[in-house]
């Protein structure tokens, strides 16, 4: 394998699946068996996708390291590059380098309850945590609080509905909040009246009492979401050190060189790509501009 950190490795698209009108799920596998064997990651890490001749972009891994042999990326069509990717088909080859970033401290959290709070596309990296927790069975209970715009925007809808129905057997409790009403949502709400509601993700905290000494919260969502979710958690006396959030910035190089993801001030500067993208609320308190 190359020592050049900017070199990418060929990965074949095994499957392309429409998740919503904007997001597709790409299942990839490295062509080189050596690379495939060496590639390991933690939930919360990201890779850089290389579309040769067009450029690169960072994307979080949404599959779990417990399921080996493939890598899944949930890609929203939002710009020039992702528009191009959305046209790609099974069998096409892209370049991948990574994994980058610190990821969630899964081992440290073993034996605890996990509260996953996802907003919109934030579901993608947390899906990795969700399946890791379910597959390893090393966590007491897993709550997933997921806020989306509309029924059509629910990422991994089949999996979410499956967990709504059968999650308890896996110690997993899913709660869903949607903003735009539709017949499908009303149907869901009727079926799971205690777990599906119209509103935003913070509404899902209502009535939930978490054992704050045995729980960790893992948050991912749009920038505006963090402040409100963190307030809910702090109100329930969850320690800032038990609140993990994964953040987005312009991660161009992924290896702490290009400077685009730098945040902070004269006393505390962080590279989101290397020091993060997962940070605790303590980090947010000591680094301006983090959230």
């Amino acid at each position: 394998m190359s020592e050049n950190p900017y070199q990418t490795y060929d990965a074949r698209i095994l499957e392309v699946k429409d998740l919503t009108s904007r997001e597709k799920l790409f299942t990839l596998r490295f062509l080189d068996p050596e690379v495939e064997a060496k590639f390991d990651f933690r939930p919360g890490q990201f890779v850089i996708v290389d579309i040769r001749g067009f450029g690169e972009f960072p994307i979080s891994i949404c599959s779990s390291p417990t399921r080996r042999g493939y890598l899944q990326l949930c890609i929203r069509k939002v710009g020039r590059m992702t528009k191009f990717v959305h046209k790609m088909k099974e069998g096409d080859v892209v370049g991948i380098r990574g994994p980058y970033g610190n990821g969630f401290p899964m081992e440290k959290m073993e034996g605890s309850n996990l509260i996953l709070v996802a907003g919109g596309l934030g579901m993608a990296p947390l899906r990795s945590v969700l399946w890791y927790a379910i597959d390893t069975g090393k966590y007491e209970n897993v709550w997933l609080l997921y806020g989306t715009k509309a029924y059509e925007d629910i990422l991994f809808r089949d999996e979410i509905i499956h967990l709504l129905k059968h999650g308890e057997a896996m110690n997993c409790s899913v709660k869903l909040a949607y903003e735009v009403e539709s017949p499908s949502c009303i149907y869901l709400e009727q079926g799971f009246s205690d777990r599906v509601c119209r509103g935003v993700v913070t509404d899902l905290f209502r009535g939930e009492e978490f054992d704050v000494n045995r729980a960790y919260a893992l948050i991912c969502g749009p920038p505006v979401m963090y402040k409100f979710v963190i307030k809910e958690l702090l109100d329930r006396k969850l320690s800032p050190g038990r609140i993990y959030m994964t953040l987005e910035r312009r991660m161009r190089c992924g290896v702490g060189k290009c400077g685009h993801c730098v945040v902070g001030t004269s006393v505390s500067m962080k590279y989101i790509c290397q020091d993060g993208p997962v940070f605790t609320y303590w980090d947010a308190l000591s680094t301006r501009g983090l959230i």
Binding site: R52, G79, C258, H260, V267, M269
Partner: protein, 334 residues
Amino acid sequence: MRYIKLPSENFGKFFKSLEAWGSVYAPVKRGGIYSFQEVHDPAEIALDYNRTMLPPKKFFFRPKEAILRLKNGHWEENLEAEPTVLFGLHSCDIHGLKILDRVYLDEPADPYYKSRREKTLIIGISCMPDEYCFCKSLGTHFAMDGFDLFLHELPDGWLVRIGSVRGHEIVWENGELFEEVTDEDLANFKEFEEKRAKAFQKEVPQEGLADMLDLAYNSPVWKKYAEICLACGNCNLVCPTCRCYEVCDRWMDAYSSVRERRYDSCFMENHGLVAGNYNFRPTRLDRFRHRYYCKSYFDPSSGYNCVGCGRCDEFCPAKIEHVKVLEEVRGSLK
């Protein structure tokens, strides 16, 4: 450290001997501006230059370069590095390179930067400050490492400090050009350094600087200067420690493409832009403040991200003075 003397009359021969190590670049004056250029005749060198416009970072981290070339669907590296001698670096620029080293040689090392760094000989030279210099207050006015040889001006030659094995080798191979240092040379060296220390006109008071600036996050001074600032990014380009880069792919023809990187500036609007048009530093104020925080960031192992070379002041079309901004921001804390 080993100290040795290069008498004035041997300077030319010494300089010519450097060509055995690689292409020699030294400060040259062209059109009123100094820059590092390839030099064959020592007479071309501007030994008493104040500062070059582009710092020596351009030799290691290029303004624009192809890092990968796409051939037959695969990226090929472009790791060319020529043996180079950089002659006449000032102490601040040597410190600037050390700060870049911390970023580019840190794991995973940038292979382009690393290969050039390994093939380059650094020869420092003493200088006298002008009205823009404030390196002394940042502790970067004297290089204690980061060079192979460092030449200090004496009335009749140069006091040479040898800073590396390669430096020893050069002196060893040209032994006949050097003399042992005398007491008189030492007295002259001391006198020069004392005279130099007194010549600085600007300083950044370091006490609690990083914390004071952090506390003054909402100071109106940031806004005042952000409004004067043209957001041209000149200060980033000429800064010896600015190292942000942007990458893009460029098609050469239907079958080949290059992945190029070039200097980027945190003053550009798209510096903090992510997918979906969300910008983490949307206003000029955000971007202006960010640069100052980045330069004033204090790393316990290597100090500030600023070496006080004065380039950002000299080449700022809006005449914004770095030290003055810091003083005013600090002063705005009631």
